[in-house]
Symmetry: C2
Subunit: 246 residues, 2 copies
DNA sequence: TTATGTCATATTGTCAGACCATAACGGATC
DNA sequence: GATCCGTTATGGTCTGACAATATGACATAA
């Protein structure tokens, strides 16, 4: 009756090649920066044609495990954060996640990021953040630029928390969420000013190394965003049409 | 002097194909489930050889934008969560993230997940969780199984929060962190029992729809994990050798 | 009618070999 | 040592081909 079907899965040559190389990378036998042999040689090593090798390589490339600094040079890479961000962002867009989902998570990530930043940021980093904030202040009216700078402000804060896991996790989410600003601004004219104010207070708290206060302001900032979203009626709207991802 | 260098980037034929198809998917012109033409036909459409098409397709495949339910059928897919989990997990492993980084994030994600679950889980879902917990209780001594069940317990709770963004973000992190259990257990014999206790309390809180209590227990549970990690001296250890990722 | 079996066809995975542009390397020159 | 230059080999692309097999149409059996 209950026959446990375990679907057999054929593994094609090009997959095996990709897997084999991947395994060697994960096992540490190939370290980031190492250069791989040419396609012809790889073909000889695995006993397959160059075309087959190439298909495998294409896969590894788009996995971010290898990359080509120049067409002739194929080396092992450590996956770049922005690649993952793109993938995750695309996935969330295609899944049609709602602003509520994004916001709920952001509501914990940004305060955490800000708290960590207060504990760990160097004064140089804080200065740089301040400069960025200056640009943001000067961008009133230019929606696209405002959004970009806001995104960068929050990313920067997260970086200053020196937690790469948090950076990786929050980036795609923040990116999608903060883009909603464009839809909120028309409904909430005062929103821009409150944003500036919140950022200022965050910077001040960072300067004072006051983690609690920094966290609190971050939380209020994100809560504020939500109020804006509510006014604009975005709560259960889909975050954005996937095409908007560059 | 400050000439703004705009690095031209050649785009190869296979990339253009991948990009073009990707764009059509993101633009919604191709919807998940839609079937794509055969390789030969695609080649004709783009004015390019089949080999070239194939390389482009390999990339889209590993991006999760298209997939083959059967070798002959190529259709548009919505990226699967587990694919992203794998990529992110690999990336974090290769970045050599520490337990501290993982824990700091988990410290906010799991309580949130649990709180949301308390608000949104159906009783059926809670029953299923209870069953899973039962298995966990019965797995004492079998380290690998205990870890797997613990991971699944937390994933399940997250699912019950019905927030896909949170699910996506926390999964790879939790996966890496909870594996540390194997390194902790030998140092903290009572740890296993406390884990069981915490899970029980979480389930009870979920049943009562008591979001605060659920969240509190989740937080304590993760804090507890950290104490274990400290005893085992893992705080700034690298989470795990990448090879351990299946 | 529905289910099973048969068969032709089209498509995929893989291979072999070839072409051209150019990146990389080594040597020559300054 | 730095710059120029020519050779070479490698990557991107193409053509053409072959075997295995999934698919769909058709025929037959229950």
């Amino acid at each position: 009756m209950s026959l446990t079907a375990k679907p057999i899965h054929v593994t094609y040559a090009y997959q095996q090649i990709a897997e084999e190389i991947e395994a060697q990378i994960l096992r540490g036998e190939l370290k980031p920066g190492d250069q791989l042999p040419g396609e012809a040689e790889l073909g000889a090593l695995f006993g397959v044609t160059r075309s087959t090798v190439r298909e495998g390589l294409r896969q590894l490339e788009s996995d971010g495990l290898v990359h080509r600094p120049s067409p002739r040079r194929l080396e092992v890479a450590v996956p770049q954060a922005d690649q993952l961000t793109t993938r995750a962002g695309r996935a969330m867009a295609l899944m049609k996640v709602t602003f509520r989902e994004l916001w709920e998570v952001t509501m914990v990530t940004e305060p955490l990021a800000t708290r960590l930043a207060a504990q760990r940021a160097s004064s140089d980093e804080i200065d740089a953040l301040q400069a960025l904030h200056g640009d943001l202040v000067g961008s009133e009216g230019e929606m696209a630029r405002t959004i970009e700078l806001d995104e960068r402000f929050h990313s920067r804060v997260a970086e200053m928390g020196h937690n790469r896991v948090l950076g990786l996790a929050r980036e795609p989410i923040a990116l999608l969420l903060f883009r909603g600003f464009a839809q909120i601004a028309p409904f909430a004219p005062k929103f821009y000013k409150r944003q500036i104010e919140a950022h200022s207070n965050i910077i001040a708290a960072l300067r004072d190394r006051d983690a609690d206060r920094a966290e609190k302001w971050a939380r209020m900032h994100i809560e504020d965003f939500w109020r804006g979203a509510q006014i604009a009626g975005l709560e259960d709207e889909i975050a954005l049409n996937a095409r908007a991802l560059s």
